[in-house]
């Protein structure tokens, strides 16, 4: 019936929900998704130009289910909350089918089965409108700028903190720690041949090498053992000498 797209209350966002109806009464999901089942329901009620206090529940339920099927056919995953609402609608619809007189007999005050749903919709709509108000405010605020950084002696990076920052930071440290451990494991893949090669390169380019310092560079026990064996090996096979210039002094490996 209507060719033009309906304007929604929530029209402030580029990904605004959009259902286009064409002449053949087919609905088509145009863009984005609804913020939740209540959002979709409100949209459908407006679309039908229905009174929120007297929702044509059968029609709205059909429309709602049609939308869900559409989402599924478009491979949009339908969140559980949308399905819960579908079940609620079907339940309300079936309760509406019961003859009212019999209900009234049981209950002195006949409660409209739609009542709870309407209350939720009205409550939800308040916050939906409040969200729009926040949006408008933030738009204004985005046009306002604060002064640039003032140069000062204590220009270190400071952050104002909350408990969640603490947790976040802690998780980061743990992740970093994990990474380091993994790196270490990777380094341990080093073989004796590689260690020997490293040692030779170092020794022959500098003519002499402080053995203790070389050992301190090792990142794991395994590397340390390899380094030790490599030093013994190089003394055995190459013309190098181990020197200790004073008692308890550093041990030097010197090429002859």
């Amino acid at each position: 019936m209507e060719q033009q797209t309906e304007q929604l209350i929530f029209d402030f966002y580029t990904e605004k929900p959009h259902i286009v109806r064409n002449a053949h009464e087919e609905i088509k999901l145009e863009l984005g998704k609804f913020a939740g089942p209540l959002d979709l329901l409100l949209y459908l009620i407006k679309q039908e130009q229905a009174n929120i206090f007297d929702i044509p529940i059968a029609r709205i339920t059909d429309e709602y289910l049609k939308y869900i099927r559409l989402m599924k056919s478009l491979d949009i995953s339908v969140a559980g909350d949308f399905l819960v609402m579908a079940a609620t609608l079907i339940e309300v619809k079936s309760r509406m089918l019961l003859p009212r007189e019999s209900l009234a007999e049981i209950d002195e005050e006949f409660e409209d089965p739609r009542r709870e749903l309407v209350d939720r919709l009205l409550e939800y709509e308040k916050f939906k409108n409040a969200a729009q108000m926040l949006y408008e405010r933030s738009t204004v605020e985005q046009a306002v700028f604060m002064r640039g950084e003032i140069e000062s002696d204590e220009n270190n990076l400071e952050v104002s903190t909350t408990v969640f920052d603490l947790l976040g930071v802690f998780q980061k440290i743990l992740a970093r720690h994990k990474e380091e451990i993994q790196l270490e494991i990777e380094r341990e893949e080093m073989s004796l041949a590689e260690m020997l090669k490293t040692l030779k390169k170092r020794l022959f380019s500098a003519k002499e090498l402080n053995v203790l310092k070389f050992f301190q560079e090792m990142n794991s026990r395994r590397e340390l053992v390899l380094a030790f064996i490599a030093v013994l090996e190089i003394v055995r096979t190459e013309s190098v000498k181990l020197l200790q210039e004073e008692i308890f002094g550093d041990i030097i490996l010197r090429k002859q």
């Binding site: 939740g36 209540l38 916050f127």
Partner: protein, 186 residues
Amino acid sequence: MNQETEKQPRSISELIAIIEALIFVADEPLTEKILADVLEEDKETIQIAVEELINEYKQREGGLQIREIAGGWQISTRTEFHEDIRKFLRTRPSAKLSIAALETLAVIAYKQPVTVPEILEIRGVQSASAIKTLLDKRLIVARGRKEAVGRPMQYGTSKDFLIQFGLKDLSELPNVEDFEDLTVGI
């Protein structure tokens, strides 16, 4: 208590000037209390001086304004010049919040302190990722646990929320009931 400084009493115009300088250097909106403490003046004097300063800024019609935000005063640029400023800073309007995040923020702002299940009840949809976004953007903060089954975490809005939405304090939020009758009875 303050014997070592033998200060001359300040003139009101001098006081206004000092307040302007302090508001300028402060990183956050500057409260009456801090001004009163630092300047050793009573709050009424501070209030009068700040009002005078705000008026002066209004009359000047310069590039800057003084606004009351998050319970304090802050100097910022006037909104009119945002295009040129943005061009200079090469910034675009910062990423907007999704509808889900805005709705969740609205619920938290009006119902605080509020738990995740309570938000779910009002919005009718899981709000976990929206809450995470809001926490990351420091718009909301945890406010301790509720004394209920499972002791769920409660959330409330932060000072950054007030600053980002240009609010003096939470009481400046329009009444949520006022939003009710916008679409009722179409």
